[in-house]
């Protein structure tokens, strides 16, 4: 297993259950990215009762709360101990290379030869920063979610946050509250209320079975896998952090950042339509929940259906900002993440650098993956989503090993 996050450790647990000899290689410490690569205020989008791992349910005092990054790290630590996972920390993988019917794995602490390799190194190793950032004037400080910690580390003055998914809306809100005027550049996004009919919106995703939808039942899997994270934040108030909430705070909304030309950021004039698309999709989703509640007789367990105000279109939204004029002093790129496979010397990446896999079974014998968006189910990248995926992938892996052994014994 490469990576001792929740995915690698869940896989380890199922391998241990089957008495399959394995090792979990970790470049740093268990749950490394939760310890070192998250901003200070980050909390999970999922409520605590959903933060369960195979054989480890949430047993704390606040089932409806949301874990901080430190609490997630502690949870994963505890899971590593409960699962008795054979983790080698401070062991960074530098290459994985096919060698006949095995893989040679080189690390900072020696080499391994193994029959199977499972990639559980995460989907968010590198911040995806668009190429237009090359045109940002040198006077502007630039941050990604990896080097952003809190607003105090930003220069005084205006901030342009690029990206309207969970990261973008959360950082826009907290930076704006620090007294730095924020402009948020918004492209296509996923709008969700924090609670719906009195329940966490992710309760609905779970209970209605939507999150369990399998990858091979989804019409447009490529699109589902590229879907940005929903505009949600985990706070004690369980408040909604959609664009209307940001507008009410005083955050200025502009269209998708199209390019930077001669020091000017140019924004799309299509803001209305990205609002309309997000509003329509949210309404369709909520109607699906209502229909499920009716069909399953849950209507009386929950509050009455709610409908939300359409996203308010700003009266005047600038189509360009002069980045040399001084109003903007820093830019935060909340434009997504991608995995780092620089160490993977196996030809299994497509032309866009994505892993070619079928539900975590990678396009090379004995190579597997976990923890990628909609790997096997819509819930794949959420903490609780790993259990079913890890079980399925380890089932396949065990079958592969058994097949290989059968071949070997016949030979």
């Amino acid at each position: 297993m490469i990576g001792a996050g929740h995915a690698g450790l869940a896989a380890s647990r199922f391998l241990t259950d089957r008495s399959i000899d394995h090792v979990v290689l970790e470049r740093g410490d268990v749950a490394n990215s939760w310890r070192r690569e998250r901003w200070d205020s980050l909390r999970l989008l999922t409520p605590n009762w959903q933060s369960r791992l195979p054989g480890l349910a949430y047993d704390g005092p606040e089932p409806d709360g949301y874990m901080s990054a430190g609490e997630v790290a502690a949870l994963i630590d505890r899971f590593a101990r409960v699962a008795n996972a054979p983790v080698r920390t401070q062991t960074a993988v530098t290459s994985v290379r096919p060698a006949a019917d095995r893989y040679d794995v080189t690390t900072s602490a020696g080499g391994f030869r193994c029959r199977c390799v499972l990639l559980a190194s995460g989907a968010c190793n590198v911040a995806s920063v668009p190429g237009v950032s090359a045109g940002v004037p040198p006077s502007i400080a630039q941050f990604t979610p990896f080097d952003y910690r809190n607003p105090d580390r930003l220069p005084e003055g205006g901030v342009l946050v690029v990206g309207g998914s969970a990261t973008g809306v959360q950082l826009a809100a907290e930076i704006h509250q620090s007294g730095r005027p924020v402009t948020l550049s918004v492209g296509e996004h996923v709008r969700l209320p924090r609670t719906y009919r009195g329940r966490d919106v992710l309760w609905w995703m779970d209970a209605s079975g939507l999150w369990n939808q399998r990858y091979d039942e989804i019409d447009d899997l490529t699109r589902a896998r590229r879907l940005p994270s929903p505009q949600l934040v985990g706070t004690p108030q369980r408040s909604t952090l959609d664009l209307n909430a940001l507008t009410a705070m005083g955050v200025a909304l502009v269209g998708r950042l199209a390019t930077i030309r001669d020091g000017r950021a140019l924004f799309s004039g299509g803001l209305r339509n990205v609002f309309a698309l997000a509003d329509l999709k949210m309404e369709r989703l909520l109607a699906t929940f209502d229909e499920w509640a009716r069909a399953t007789g849950r209507d009386t367990d929950v509050a009455a259906p709610e409908r939300f105000e359409p996203t308010r279109v700003p009266a005047a939204s600038p189509l360009q900002l002069d980045l040399r004029a001084g109003a903007i002093r820093s830019i935060v790129w909340a434009t997504g993440f991608h995995p780092d496979y620089g160490w993977l010397d196996v030809p299994v990446l497509d032309e866009k650098g994505q892993l070619r896999h079928d539900g975590g079974v990678v396009d090379a014998p004995g190579l597997y993956a976990l923890g990628l968006p909609v790997l096997r189910r819509r819930k794949s990248t959420f903490i609780h989503g790993i259990e079913d995926d890890a079980r399925d992938v380890i089932d396949h892996l065990a079958g592969y090993l058994a097949g290989e052994s059968a071949l070997a014994s016949r030979a």
Binding site: G270, N273, E283
Partner: protein, 184 residues
């Protein structure tokens, strides 16, 4: 939904097949659209459109189409055709309308009528050079659709939203594009 009975005259299967085919052939997907323009007199010009490039080779429309462009008499012109900025409105409306039909077909929605009005607001102090703070082009464009179809209001709104999302003209109007103008 009675998908089989729906006929908006759009061959969605051909479009979906093309999408699949071009996934593996990105070079064939590179198109060049062309027009040629000839000055007549004053602000009057005649443009012709026939050939284009795509699927790896030169292609052509069945017939050549001519477009007269001019300015109205209140601009001291002879008004031998519509203004170039009006052609942009034609481009936007027709692109969105084609999108509505294609998306409706794909979603199994029978259209009965699709009509739209387009209005582009422009402050001509820009093009006249009266005030350099006023831009030359449109500062606001509004398209209003009236659609009669076998669908709810929300479904119709979703059709129009999806059509904008996939419209080439909407994209090129709302986002900047590099433009090279040279003399040979």
């Amino acid at each position: 939904m009675a998908t089989m009975a729906v006929n908006n005259g759009v061959n969605v299967q051909a479009l979906l097949d093309a999408r699949e085919a071009l996934k593996g052939a990105p070079e064939a997907a590179k198109f060049t659209w062309k027009a040629s323009c000839k000055w007549q007199n004053g602000t009057h010009s005649e443009s012709k459109v026939k050939g284009f490039f795509g699927l790896g080779q030169e292609q052509a429309h069945k017939t050549e189409t001519s477009f007269s462009a001019d300015h109205p008499e209140i601009f001291a012109s002879e008004d031998k055709g519509v203004t170039p900025v009006e052609y942009m409105l034609v481009g936007l409306a027709s692109c969105l309308t084609a999108g509505v039909a294609a998306v409706a077909q794909n979603r199994g929605i029978q259209l009965r009528s699709v009509e739209s009005n387009v209005e582009g607001k422009m402050d001509i102090r820009g093009i006249l050079g009266i005030d350099s703070d006023v831009r030359n082009g449109y500062d606001d464009i509004k398209v209003t659709f009236k659609i009669d179809a076998d669908a709810s209001k929300k479904e119709i709104e979703a059709l129009v939203a999806q059509s904008q999302k996939r419209s080439a003209v909407y994209d090129v109007i709302t986002n900047p594009v590099n433009v090279t103008v040279e003399v040979v």
